[in-house]
């Protein structure tokens, strides 16, 4: 391992203390010019599908304290996508600010700008609507049924040339053949085939979606927003409202968590519109139930896996078919679906024949979007259970089977080439893979050998089992994601670092400073970072696709190395020597021992000789997306009387390359793992027959609290990724993919039943056990695997 000064150290997160006190402002904490701002509130549909025949806002508009009512008939009708992706976005342009139609319970009808929330609510109650109900589509399997309604038939379109068939409610489709699955299946000694389903879930960032907007003295639109994608937000607002990009400034202050939920440009256009129309500052802050219902959810997915296997364990063919419920709009519909294959199938790269097909379809349900894991989470749930079944069938330990067949350093997978995010992928050879060691370390920590298959008794009649899952993700989107950085020397030898990268609580500001500090051979305290302000910082695609450390970090490293060259020139001129050694905050003449410090360089270049502002810029993209790897292990207690599953211990061992900041890297894995555990066991959207979410609150939804916590262990397994800054790969998303399959495999280990549907509620576990114990039921055979 390379010897680093700052990289690899758990440097304290630079904003941690101010955040702990509460003094570093989030969007809702800003004082806006001309306070108090107008409050924006939406009126939502309480039916799942209907035409808005007429809307009469006259009484609302007449109400004292109402500054405006915004709806389809007085707003731009541009189709766009709220998906905060690169341009052109690989998501359907099927969304308007407001429409003459509503497509789910919680869809926007109109918006009121008023002096107070109470006035806004009263105004909403005064709006007269005439709605013409339409037939509804709740079951994604019925999307193509001739009797099903068409959700989008008004000229919606896909901005890139890919499959888009709104006439069949299909917002994206894929068909990726590799080799010949038919003959592959014929070579197999046996076939394992199952259907797995996963559910909607909420990001549940503790800070709700919020945006504030005002006009500066030159009437530019200033948007302060809790976003993961400030530059995409600026571009999308510009297009939707038809105002030049240069007239918009997007500022991202501290964000209270995102997890993909704030990769949506959900509220920014509305605040900008209301500010432009009224000339007033505005604020739009979602309530918790609005976050649940009207923001975005994880896309539910039905995944069918069929694998042909030889008795020695070789998988000769794999068929994967996915049906993704995109809800009422197609945000991320193509790319989440793609990722369900692209981030999963290369893991077992020796399968010669594969067919991955899938559809994303519209339904009259809440809208899917980006969510940590991004399709891989949905797919790994079935994939790892399938591998567990195969290993059991051929009598090989699950971990031994994984060790043998997973992708290794120096190997590739055809999937990398044929499948990217919504288009062709990029070939790559794995440069670093510590998965074997992850498996070994994790297995030892959970006590795999001692516990696996032992069905040990737990307290109160429970039975214990252990299960595992292995996975990979990526590091940024190759040849697409771009991040940029600039550095400026101050005369005292300190630096300002400007990055477009977006710290949504992950600590990316801190690790980007560490990367710059390492290259500059400088203490991180000597660097002040400013991030995510579209006026002041260079471009960055934003915080998604596990890209920030790898892509933005690559830009920062390049930028800092370019600065080292500039500093060297000044020092060489000052000392009259060309061959200088770069040391801590200085350059030294190895002959004379004389050195010239950054501070001396700063004063000289600013005030004394050949005066210049030393400043460097760099941009970074990557031709590859080096996967981090992870092995996760769950020990569970299952109560056969009730079906209650308790996770006793959870272990993660991750290869994220060189962790830039180990404490922050662990934090990413721990947070993702706990989110994944509650996704596996408790989190779900409950709908009534009309498509209304009936549990839209923290209390009824069920995210994990301190009281639910299992014992947790997290290990960072160091590798060195040549393509990453100082050997780093990503770590943000991967940790959420393993809990559901590891727990499902552990439940099987304990009580011999398979759970094919998430969440694995006590009722489902109980019913699965009942079915297995009744010999007339088909699933008894599975129990006997």
């Amino acid at each position: 391992m390379a010897d680093y000064t700052t990289v690899g150290k758990s440097v304290k997160k630079i904003d941690a203390l101010a955040l702990a006190m509460g003094t570093d402002p989030y969007t809702a904490d800003y004082s806006l010019p001309g306070d108090p701002p107008l409050v924006l509130k939406f009126m939502y549909s309480d039916v799942a599908h209907a035409d808005i025949v007429s809307l009469d806002a006259s009484r609302a508009e007449a109400l004292d304290g109402v500054a405006g009512v915004f709806h389809f008939w007085n707003c731009p009708d541009t189709f766009y996508t709220t998906a905060g992706q690169g341009y052109p976005e690989p998501s359907a342009y099927d969304n308007r600010l407001f429409d003459h139609k509503v497509r789910f319970v919680g869809d926007r009808i109109c918006m009121v700008a008023a002096e107070t929330p109470e006035i806004a609510e009263e105004a909403i109650s005064l709006i007269n609507l005439e709605m013409d109900p339409l037939p509804t589509l709740f079951d994604p399997e019925l999307s193509r049924d001739p009797d099903s309604p068409r959700l989008h038939n008004d000229g919606e379109y896909m901005p890139i040339p890919v499959r888009y068939q709104p006439e069949e409610n299909i917002c994206a489709g894929l068909n990726i053949p590799l080799g010949d699955v038919e003959s592959g299946m014929k070579e197999a000694d046996f076939v394992v085939e199952h259907r797995y389903t996963t559910q909607q879930s909420s990001h549940a960032a503790i800070e709700p979606h919020v945006v504030a907007c005002y006009l500066d003295p030159r009437d530019r639109v200033i948007i302060v927003t809790a976003t993961q994608v400030p530059f995409h937000a600026r571009r999308i607002v510009s297009r939707v409202l038809d105002i030049p990009i240069q007239r918009i400034r997007v500022i991202k202050p501290r964000i209270g968590g995102g997890f993909g939920g704030k990769q949506e440009v959900l509220l920014e256009p509305y605040a900008a519109l209301a500010t432009l129309r009224t000339g007033r500052s505005t604020i739009c802050e979602f309530t918790r139930s609005e976050v649940f219902v009207s923001s975005r959810t994880r896309h539910p997915m039905r995944v069918d896996f069929k694998m042909g296997v030889k008795n020695d364990g070789e998988i000769t063919a794999l068929v994967m078919d996915a049906l993704m419920d995109s809800g009422a709009y197609g945000t991320h519909g193509l790319t989440v679906l793609s990722n369900a294959g692209a981030k999963v199938l290369p893991l077992f790269n020796k399968i010669p024949n594969m067919l991955f097909s899938g559809r994303s379809v519209y339904t009259n349900l809440p809208v899917g979007g980006a969510y940590r894991g991004y399709g891989a989470t949905q797919s790994y749930f079935g994939f790892n259970q399938h591998i567990d079944m195969i290993a059991r069938k051929i009598g090989v330990d699950f971990l031994d089977y994984c060790r043998k067949w997973h992708i290794k350093e120096g190997e590739t997978s055809e999937i990398f080439r044929v499948l990217g995010e919504g288009k062709e992928g990029v070939s790559q050879v794995i440069g670093s893979c510590g998965l074997g060691e992850c498996i070994d370390v994790g297995a030892a920590a959970i006590g795999w050998k001692e516990k696996r298959g032992k069905k040990q008794s737990g307290p109160n009649g429970t039975v214990r089992g252990v299960g595992a899952a292995i996975m990979m993700q990526g590091s940024g989107i190759p040849k697409i994601d771009m991040g940029a950085a600039s550095l400026k020397l101050n005369e005292d030898g300190s630096f300002n670092l400007f990055v477009g990268a977006t710290d949504l609580g992950t600590g990316s500001d801190t690790i980007l400073v560490q990367i710059a500090a390492e290259a500059l051979k400088l203490a991180p305290e000597k660097i002040e970072i400013l991030s995510s302000d579209t006026d002041l910082t260079p471009f960055d695609v934003g915080a998604y696709a596990s890209s920030t450390t790898y892509i933005s970090g690559g830009a920062v490293k390049k930028c800092a190395l370019a600065m080292v060259q500039e500093l060297r020139k000044v020092a060489a001129d000052a000392l009259g020597v060309d061959a200088l050694e770069h040391g801590p905050e200085c350059f030294t003449d190895p002959e004379s021992g004389e050195s010239f410090s950054y501070e001396e360089i700063g004063y000289r270049s600013t005030y004394a000789k050949n005066q210049v502002q030393l400043q460097t810029n760099a941009s970074h993209t990557s031709d590859v997306s080096p996967p981090p790897f992870l092995a996760q292990f769950a020990e569970v207690e299952v109560d056969p009387e009730t079906g209650i599953v308790r996770v006793v211990e959870f272990v993660s061992a991750v290869d994220c390359g060189q962790a830039i900041n180990p404490a922050l890297a662990e934090g990413q894995i721990e947070g993702a793992a706990v989110n994944g555990i509650s996704y596996a066991l408790t989190e779900q959207y409950v709908f009534n027959r009309d498509g209304r979410v009936t549990n839209a609150s923290f209390g009824r939804y069920g995210i994990y609290t301190t009281a639910d916590m299992p014992k947790m262990q997290t290990f960072l397994i160091p590798t060195h990724e040549e393509n990453g800054p100082f050997g780093a790969k990503s770590v943000g998303e991967i940790g959420i993919n393993g809990p559901a399959p590891a727990i499902a495999n552990a439940i099987f280990d304990a009580v011999g039943v398979r759970l094919y549907d998430l969440p694995m509620t006590p009722e489902r576990v109980y019913r699965a056990m009942q079915a297995a114990s009744s010999p007339s039921e088909g699933s008894a055979a599975e129990a006997a695997e």
Binding site: S10, A205, E285
Partner: protein, 155 residues
Amino acid sequence: MTGTITVNGAQVRVEFDSTDTLLDVLRSNGHTEVKRGCSSGECGSCIVLLDDGLVNSCQVFAATALDKKIITSTGLGENGRAHAVHEAFADTGAVQCGFCTPGMVMATYSLLKTSPDPTDEEIREGLVGNLCRCTGYVKIFDAVKLAGERMRKDG
């Protein structure tokens, strides 16, 4: 309505409607260190001390807080400086997005007042009303223990 509340030792004259919560009044009077995550008492982001008892300030009418002493996260340390609990959260990596942290800090402070050296079980119970989506709570347990250790040392 008008009245006086005492926030972090300072008397504040406040104007409010009868249905305004303590959270509304604190935030509109500049105490934005108290966060709003749900408005239904389920996330704990708005937890403050009200006469030494922990409350979700979104669940308390402002009127009931009149003439009472309120301590928020910024009032925990001396003269507005960081308190040992803040330091412990920062030092252990227990702060990610930080939105839940001021509330966590208040719950931790209150727990450590009654249990200076808390067991895991006491921490689970003491922080059960504070949701965090970023950290998975692991480093928050570490923070509570470190804060306890430092507070015990400092007496």
